[in-house]
Symmetry: D2
Subunit: 278 residues, 4 copies
């Protein structure tokens, strides 16, 4: 401190706090104030410290909320797209599947099997449309890597989903059986991004647009929609190529994740892709 120091005023309350805080360590409050102001200036100069929370209210940056939802609606570019069929497999979609034998008695199985009948042709149409357009066709199935399932996630161990490799239940439903050189990813989590390397593979493939279908709409499919959206993909959910245990659950799910994806029927998507070719 020197002769040229300037005099300023601070509130009695703040002065008192400083006094209390530093009395045993430091008598000279001026030094503390000097340091405080210098720190404050440094924060102002840098605007903001990354990850940090500068405290200068006079020039605080302002938050905004300006959705540009039209950007989520951009059409699929086939050469940068993949379709993923989620859990369309015997375990839960075939009458002989093990999960279907163990469901609680109040499960609305009649609705389910009717829905399966309606959805199967949608899966076929979606698969054919994508193959024809040169879109990568991928599948994920509930399946462990070991016969005893020891590699299953904690959740799948609790949920009791045990589908060993090589089992009938692990197979993709016959109507859309994987073609030559199409990728099938076994998973032991609801969200395919959690337990598989799909994000890595999609990046390797140059995929930016992810088309999702399968079941259950509000379980594994919804989890995939949410994470794909968070992981920088443009997500198209094919609404009539998804199924869950009631129409109400299906509709609720579509509403809930409306902000994370765009939603199209198979036919709408097929039309869009056909249009893109012209």
């Amino acid at each position: 401190m020197s002769d040229q120091d300037k005099t300023v005023k601070i509130s009695a309350e703040t002065w008192s706090k400083l006094q209390t805080l530093y009395q045993t360590e430091l008598k000279d409050i001026d030094l503390v104030v000097e340091e405080a102001v210098q720190a404050y200036l440094k924060n102002l100069e840098t605007g903001s410290l990354s990850n940090g929370q500068p405290q200068n209210a006079l020039r605080r940056p302002e938050a905004t909320f300006k959705p540009q939802t039209h950007l989520r609606q951009i059409p699929v570019v086939p050469g940068e797209a993949a379709v993923l069929f989620i859990d369309v497999q015997n375990y839960n979609c075939h009458k002989d599947g093990a999960e279907m034998q163990g469901l609680p008695p109040d499960t609305p199985v009649d609705y389910w099997w009717k829905r399966m009948e309606e959805t199967a042709p949608k899966w076929v149409q979606l698969r054919d449309t994508c193959r024809e357009a040169g879109i990568e066709v991928m599948y994920t199935v509930i399946q462990s890597l070991t016969a005893d399932g020891r590699d299953q996630s904690l959740d799948y161990k609790i949920s009791g989903f045990h589908v060993p490799p090589g089992s009938f239940d692990a197979e993709v439903l016959n109507c859309i059986a994987p073609g030559p050189d199409e990728i099938v990813l076994p998973k032991t989590s609801s969200n395919v991004f959690a337990s598989t390397n799909i994000d890595y593979i999609l990046r390797s493939l140059g995929v930016k647009f992810l088309i999702l279908a399968g079941c259950l709409t509000d379980q594994c499919v919804e989890s995939a929609v949410r994470d794909a959206c968070d992981k920088h993909y443009y997500v198209t959910l094919v609404t009539d190529a998804c199924a869950t245990f009631s129409q109400e659950r299906h509709d609720n799910s579509l509403r809930t994740i409306n902000g994370f994806c765009r939603q199209r029927t198979v036919q709408q998507l097929a039309d869009e892709i056909a249009q893109a070719k012209k």
Copy 2:
């Protein structure tokens, strides 16, 4: 092939396929059959090839579905637990928050502010209960690392969530302002696991039980529940310490993710923790 070869029969149809397939390459069908049977035996011996799908139906492994849902109900062990407050910040929970200024006109804001009033004391109780029990108290807030938001995810750029560091909107709601040395993670994705290193931090901290609260119940909170469950955590969702834009949406979300977490009120959780101490 030698004198000791054994004679077997295969169907005409299969024989014909082999014939067609190999006629230009190989005349001797016996060699192909020999190889096929050896491959088949090898598959049988190894039981299953990891990641592979052996095709031997005679001894195929069997899938099962045996939920053990009681395992999801095990009580929180405080020394291995963390509570995470999700998006309890000025941006969307304070009347001056920027998001609240930009909502569509049909947003049920009356419900929302009433809910905020009811929920705030629950957050405080939850925070205090956890702190007292030695449970790690953590926060995540919608916030970019840069003032211009260029580090935001594609989704947040589309959604228009712009909360710069140092802004009023980035601050945790004052009623549960972070205490000394509590961790706050800025995020630019709905699911906190997608855009932050929280999974790494939780592992470093030795956390196995994750308690979740905040808003919106059916958006960022639900995404966190789903991913935490998939990532091997025992998840407790604190139902009355969550909020979204209608009671119906809140209830639907709880039902939908019932299989991914256990659900408790703040008081139930507090009682459980008090019980654990005895």
Copy 3:
């Protein structure tokens, strides 16, 4: 099986194995052979099962090894590039840094301080070159999120690297102090990709080219080079903007990771970037 069945031969040894295997379950070896051949044909048709290992040697796909190393040499595109300064901070680069006080007595500190003197201007030149070209300038520092370091990785706890937030040691070296709105990522792992969300941020920023510099060449820098390469980035290592505890270690590291990155001096990179502008 029918009248039209065809007769084929299999080796006695294989026949015997089948006999042994199935005697208690199945008398009719023909059925097993039929199934084996059908499985074999199915494998042939699909070419390969994803993740699986079909066993048909006759038409096995062929591996190749055809490096295209010129592709790793493509020049940085400034608008899609970031430079990351690794651990250029007081803890280990400043004479008052805590790590430098605790090094084993046989550490070649004379070499180190000389190297620091030479490297500091390189860091400045690199930083200035990148800023001017519009390349994103980023920093990572050894730093925990908590004052007691409980969030440190197991490795950092063992290694004893304790750098609390707000400490002198956590600061980037003054000569390249972060500018306004530049990102600084605290880390508690050698490899910045392991303990931070840098991969997420780089994707958000649209970065494809990653320029790496800092210290130690053969520790944290090398780990970052390896992982960045594996994570689909084009990596440029700036050789004279890296340092470690001996010239030999430095040179060995550059040789070892030559296949994971291209290597340039600051001047070479500056020339390349200047050239790109023309």
Copy 4:
């Protein structure tokens, strides 16, 4: 401000900066100083803001460097351990492997084949020791999921490592062919953690101790050591069960990563495990 305000002094230089900064916005420097001191006090109270960098030098937290390297030496607990064989496959370890046909003419192949001969029995011993002790035995191989390799990482495309599924080259070396129900993970990155879900699987299996072996010592093996260490595993590198293209490269690698793992010969590890059983 009130009558009870206290007078303090700040340096002329700081005062001048404030003046410059605020002249057009704010005449009253006292208000700025008050805010600065309050912000400073708030930082002091919270000790440190997570992720932030408070600037109060008077009470800055202190960094330390206190290695506890004995903690890295704790012996493997078999029930919580896995061994991973890295790239011990025909592609690069068998005389007919495709990579071995394409190596540059100056590759020291004589050294390599001699080394392979010495190392093969070590792999067998390591595999047998681990199996016997109930340690999970795992393998990773260079292999794409598609016949045309389109799912390969950018790095593998550049490096030209093309190993389709079902190829001879994708097979683990016969001497340690995977047993029934052992996990094999195909990868298209140097670091197995980058392109596979191994971290997820290890967590599902409850693995804390990771034993690493294979080749090349200073390439894929070293990358795995580094990342496993960063990902909270206790890593044991089995030195004589690793190989690279020269003894010098091998030795350099072991020295470089000495801080990331403990290093044992197969025999030392076998003795330790035998000891643990007693």
